[in-house]
Symmetry: C2
Subunit: 220 residues, 2 copies
């Protein structure tokens, strides 16, 4: 067994946080075993005792690296930089690093949690919010968040990646968010440059292989 095949990723095909980690593993060329956790079926496989014993947070992604196990996608991406430093996802130069982290957190903290499976199920079941208004809530946070990030780039030159010529954490987070832009039919005229950039990235091999449509647990 090589040091690479030791990695196991608990993932759900449609989970955008899992998608971030799949992109990062592919960018770094780290092989991993895919362990599917269905977040919806039968009330959610993440709540089964065999999984919560491993991860009390009952969430994916969840990475197992030999005796070490870790949840939270952004913590996992940072950890992968220590396993395989190239390409470095969290840059070391302070100003660039700060920009990359702030961009990633704006999506990971202010957009994604509001479209997550758990909160959406709560809106439906506990608060009686119907589908169109729930979708409106999701669109609101995606559009507000990405429009602000687009505005921050006003005047900056177009680059192959969100920050310059190499992939970072920012790309790993943007592309899965744009999957939900499409899923919820958001108004992309509020963030045309970020949308076009994500669509270009989506077609690159490391990103394409991580796409929700191509996972072992993707429905036929």
């Amino acid at each position: 067994m090589t040091s690479r095949s030791r990695l196991q990723l608990y993932s759900f095909w449609r989970s955008s946080a899992s998608y971030r980690v799949r992109i990062a593993l592919n960018l770094k060329g780290l092989a991993y075993e895919y362990r599917a956790i269905h977040l919806v079926k039968d009330g959610g496989e993440q709540f089964r005792p065999e999984f919560t014993r491993l991860n009390p947070q009952a969430r994916v992604p969840f990475l197992v690296d030999g005796g070490f196990a870790l949840g939270q996608s952004l913590a996992i991406l940072d950890y992968l930089d220590t396993l395989a430093p190239s390409p470095r996802l969290v840059p070391q130069e302070p100003a660039l690093r700060a920009r990359v982290l702030a961009f990633a957190h704006a999506i990971a903290s202010d957009i994604q949690p509001l479209q997550n499976t758990g909160p959406l199920a709560y809106l439906t079941r506990e608060l009686g919010v119907e589908e169109p208004r729930k979708d409106g809530w999701v669109r609101h946070w995606i559009e507000r968040g990405l429009a602000a990030l687009e505005q921050e780039r006003a005047g900056a030159p177009d680059t192959p990646n969100v920050f310059g010529d190499a992939p970072t954490l920012a790309d790993c987070v943007l592309v899965p968010q744009v999957y939900n832009v499409d899923r919820y039919r958001c108004d992309t005229s509020r963030f045309p440059r970020l949308y076009a950039l994500a669509k270009r990235l989506e077609s690159l091999p490391a990103f394409a292989a991580a796409h929700p449509s191509r996972q072992p647990d993707t429905p036929p």
Copy 2:
């Protein structure tokens, strides 16, 4: 002007993400100028053009360091480690670093965004969710999240800080979350050790000076 007084923090007294940054600045002994942004009054001062020109995300905290400006509390805390390395909030040893980041993200991504001013206002105004059910939503995510973090610590020895004997990012994020535990009268029997730990930390000088009750914009 010393290199310290150059920092300006846009903050709201009750914002738990601002509270994280205030703790970190105090721990590191970095002086800063407090700039109050009232998130509720008159529809929210964060949406005024003079602020959104600076920060299109229309959020606090927002740090200005001379010509460099940065939003997103966790990105700011990481940046402060480059300005003043002691105490180091994001540890360098890979396993500890991963644990600290995962702990912080579990709060910053899976709890705090769901109790944030913007989403709560949307629940009220757009989705017609009334106060008791809105408070129930907040309590649900706080209790579920902190109970899982408590479970991850089962069997670990009690330590002065969340991870060992020195403050990290984890402490800067836990204490403001526990302020909301009290505010929303959550069931602390689901996370007794973390609650007791946060209460001890809250009384230490760097934490106490950052408390919402002691800010320039705290209501009388």
